[in-house]
C-alpha cells in the first residue's frame, strides 16, 4: 500500500562557491548534432537492438509541443543509462541519464517537440545497447514563437 510521505521542503537557493561537481561533462558535440546519427556518434553509442523491455509512456497526441510529458522505464537487467532523442527536433539529443547504484532506470520528463516526431530511447545495460521508439503527434510545435 502506498503511503504518501510529504517531507518539508527546504527550498534552498544555495549559491555554490565551487563549480558544480557534475561527474558527467555536458557533451557539447552530441547535443549540438543536427541528426540522431551524429548525436549517437558523438556519444559513442550504437543505435541498439529493439527491446520490448524498454518502455516509453507518452500520449499519442500532444496539444502543445512546448510540454510533452514522457515516462521512460527499463526492465532490462543492469540498465545504467537512458538516452532520449527526438528525431525531428533541430537538435535531436534531448537528454542522457546515468543511473548509479541506488537509483532505478526510470525517469519522467517534459520535453519540447517542434513537430510530430518519433521519440527514441536507447538504454545502456552491461555494455550492450537497446532501443525503443514511439511516435508522438504534435498539434502545435513548441520550439519557439
Amino acid at each position: 500500500m502506498n503511503r504518501i510521505r510529504r517531507a518539508l521542503v527546504a527550498a534552498l537557493a544555495i549559491g555554490l562557491a565551487k563549480p558544480f561537481a557534475a561527474l558527467a561533462a555536458w557533451n557539447k558535440e552530441a547535443f549540438g548534432a543536427k541528426t540522431p546519427g551524429d548525436a549517437l556518434k558523438n556519444l559513442g553509442v550504437p543505435s541498439g537492438a529493439p527491446s520490448g523491455e524498454l518502455h516509453i509512456e507518452a500520449p499519442q497526441i500532444a496539444e502543445n509541443g512546448a510540454v510533452v510529458p514522457i515516462e521512460i522505464s527499463s526492465n532490462i537487467p543492469g540498465t545504467t543509462a537512458l538516452i532520449v532523442l527526438i528525431e525531428k527536433n533541430p537538435f535531436p539529443l534531448t537528454a542522457r541519464f546515468d543511473f548509479k547504484e541506488g537509483a532505478l532506470p526510470f525517469v519522467k520528463v517534459n520535453v519540447k517537440m517542434g513537430e510530430t516526431s518519433d521519440v527514441r530511447v536507447i538504454a545502456e545495460a552491461g555494455g550492450k545497447h537497446f532501443t525503443a521508439s514511439k511516435e508522438i503527434k504534435v498539434t502545435i510545435g513548441g520550439c519557439g514563437g
Partner: protein
Amino acid sequence: MAAGPMKMRATLGQGFTDVRVLMNHPMETGQRKDSDGKLVPMHFIQNLTVKVNGKLVVDAQISQAVSRNPVFSFRLKGGAKGDKIEVAWMDNKGESNSTEMALA
C-alpha cells in the same frame, strides 16, 4: 523569480521512493523572439544530479529541449526515514540551484 524556487516531493512505492522535483528555469532555446523581435539567448539547465545521503545516484545531462520550468520524476531504490535527498542543477551560464529534503 530569480534563480527561482524548487520543490521536491517524495512518495514511497513498492520497494522504491518516487521523487518528483519541480524547478523554475526559462530553458531558453535561443530560437524564441522577445516582444521587440530580438532573439532571446540560450539559457538552459545542462546538468542535473540526484544524491542520496551525499552519494550520487543520478547524473543527468539535458538539453534546451527540456520544457520550461522542468519537472522530473526519478525512482530511488528503497528509501528509509531520515534519508537525505538532494537535487541540484547547473545551467549554461554557470548558474546553479539545489534543494534537499529528508524522508519523513
